[in-house]
């Protein structure tokens, strides 16, 4: 299958995502510049981490106007699998593809560490190979990952089973101590109602080889390869 890695000016995890898809998984992968208007017939889209457009104004606020985002929207609406990682999550929020917004981390610090997240639901293209409740040890690196939405929106996300990843302790408990940024309900990742657009603040693409400390993130990309192979999320 073919991954499209979107490159904004200021993206800095685009090569990590490309490396994971191309070299670790052995799949086809292409970089797509934000001013392009074609996703090059990719089967899945990765919005990488970094600081798109310098995060001027707000994180992800300017990236939403990049020409390629029209294509990403069309692709997502057609049911294509889209994964937003860190800054990619923030871009998807600003673009309105996912609900809510990011605030500064509660402790006002840039948090750079390995955390545990729990996979809450496996019926998305990026978690289909996971076990329900599986714990993944993957790194975070962000200053604005404090997920916020109005209480009724959060309730809707929980009811709709759209909270896909939650920060937990190494024993799998959802506690305030396990929450690195103050996100409401320990939310680390979400999906949209159609479940084809998934995003998370932690970096699975940086945890795909034991040489870098953890390979727990690989299952997300393996999942989408399996999903695309099954035709579960074909965009025609």
């Amino acid at each position: 299958m073919k991954f499209a890695v979107i490159v904004f000016p200021g993206s800095n995890c685009d090569h990590d995502a490309y490396h994971a898809a191309r070299h670790v998984l052995g799949q086809e992968a292409v970089f797509v510049w934000h001013k392009d208007s074609s996703l090059q017939r990719a089967d899945a889209v990765l919005l990488p981490g970094g600081f798109a457009h310098g995060d001027y104004l707000r994180t992800g606020a300017i990236a939403r106007f990049s020409p390629i985002m029209q294509e990403v929207k069309r692709f997502a609406e057609a049911g294509g699998p889209v994964l937003g990682i860190c800054n990619g999550f923030q871009v998807l929020l600003e673009a309105g593809l996912l609900p809510g917004a990011m605030l500064r981390n509660r402790n006002v610090r840039f948090q750079c560490e390995h955390v545990y997240v729990k996979v809450e639901h496996t019926d998305t293209p990026f978690t289909s190979n996971c076990l329900q409740g599986q714990r993944l040890r993957i790194p975070i690196a962000h200053g604005e990952g404090n997920y916020y939405a109005e209480p009724d929106v959060v309730e809707g996300l929980e009811r709709g089973r759209q909270v896909i990843f939650r920060y937990v302790t190494d024993a799998g408990a959802v506690t305030p101590e396990a929450n690195p940024n103050g996100s409401v309900n320990n939310i680390a990742g979400l999906c949209n109602e159609k479940r084809n657009v998934v995003a998370l603040m932690p970096h699975p693409e940086r945890a795909c080889e034991l040489a870098v400390g953890s390979a727990d993130g690989l299952v997300l990309l393996e999942s989408v390869v399996s999903s695309v192979r099954r035709g579960a999320f074909a965009t025609a």
């Binding site: 609900p99 917004a101 605030l103 500064r104 404090n146």
Partner: protein, 87 residues
């Protein structure tokens, strides 16, 4: 016409930066400062004829870009003074 747009986090939203600044002020001895809300300030130079038009443009700009309605609210002030000459 000059419009000034003040964007702050909604009062219902926790403001970690404002809280940190408040704590720093307390450290400096300003115990009277009870709360700080941090925000953004924009000056828009708008080529329109009336303050109402300037307000309308600024308000649209705030809705579409300057503020994120999920977490932020804004307030607009318009200078009705003569527009500065275009250089």
């Amino acid at each position: 016409m000059r419009a000034r747009v003040f964007v702050t986090l909604k009062t219902s939203v926790f403001d970690p930066q404002g809280t940190t600044v408040a704590e720093a002020l307390h450290t400096l001895g300003y115990a009277a400062v009870k709360d700080v809300r941090q925000g953004k300030y924009f000056e828009l130079d708008i080529d329109v004829r009336t303050p109402d038009e300037a307000r309308r443009v600024a308000s649209e700009a705030a809705d579409k870009l300057l503020a994120n309605p999920v977490i932020e609210s804004y307030r607009i002030e318009v200078d009705a003074g003569a527009p500065e000459p275009v250089r």
